[in-house]
Symmetry: C2
């Protein structure tokens, strides 16, 4: 069959919706992505979205789930391939940067969620994502200290803040320059 069917199955629609939101987040403020804008980009009417999601927040929730799964999986994969803890950290860093380069909307959505006042489910997911990420890094650093790869006096929590902060800094620079590719160019130097 060459021609696609006019209707998509529900699961596929949900997937496409999530990807569309991340796509839109790369172009505009995640805070004012409307359901209308999402639907328009998908080539459907606005009301159709609510056949697959009970609310807008449920959409954001699905997005955070998507991000969590993919990002953590990539980090896991990258670190497991590395020989030493230090190498694993570097691999995690580059994997993270690669992920963001592919999906520039992701850090914006994450930060946007964290900014929210109400404790939504989506915000909770963003929080646990970063928390789990931090723990993973903490383990790597502890491991590195044991093997003598890193200074024993190193404060692990501070190091984690530095690690994530550096990525945030790169993202912010890209936000300022409006240029996503610059991230990749600067990353090795840092």
């Amino acid at each position: 069959m060459i021609s696609r069917s006019a209707y998509l199955p529900a699961e596929e629609r949900r997937e496409i919706t999530v990807e569309t939101v991340i796509e839109l987040a790369a172009e505009q403020n995640p805070a004012d992505i409307t359901t209308g804008a999402i639907a328009k980009r998908m080539g459907v009417t606005q009301g159709a979205l609510f056949r697959h999601f009970p609310s807008k927040d449920a959409i954001l929730q699905a997005v955070m789930e998507w991000v969590s799964d993919r990002l953590l999986a990539r980090i896991e994969k990258a670190t497991s391939r590395a020989a030493s803890p230090l190498g694993a950290l570097e691999a995690a860093f580059m994997a993270h940067i690669d992920f963001i380069t592919e999906h520039p909307g992701v850090p914006r959505m994450l930060f946007g969620e964290l900014q929210r006042a109400e404790q939504t489910v989506a915000k909770q997911m963003a929080q646990t994502l970063i928390q789990r990420y931090g723990e993973r890094l903490c383990l790597l650093i502890a491991d590195g200290k044991k093997r003598g790869e890193m200074a024993a006096g190193l404060d692990e929590k501070a190091a984690v803040i530095l690690f994530i902060g550096t990525i945030q800094g790169l993202v912010m620079q890209a936000l300022l320059a409006g240029d996503v590719k610059r991230i990749r160019a600067n990353a090795p130097g840092v």
Copy 2:
């Protein structure tokens, strides 16, 4: 006169408005601070705001101006008192952290502005603020290299990203924990 007059002069109202916005930004998502919420906090009606500002964006613009002036002045003051470039960097770091601790809404507003898609005047001011800040740091680092305080091979731009990124990281941690004081506690360690 003990009792205040019922009406405030325009200049004072503008000042209070700006401070109120920063206050609100510390408690909720800057993106959805409404003119109604600002007015309510000030104890005036919503319409009254538009007697002193032509639009909501003009209010945000005034806020960014307020932030720019105060933050840069503090950094300048802190760095000028330091004996060496390295000491100046440390002083700038702590001055910045202090400023954020006093006004937790500031980084949130800054980041919120940078996220916006449209090129508003407020966004431009945020951009130039960070740009000028970065240049100032760059000079300090270059100076430090000359005096041999820092490694000559150090990439200045990367170092600046690290510097600002670290502060961003601390802010994000506070955002996660919902605890502003933690910033100050962790700062020296980093």
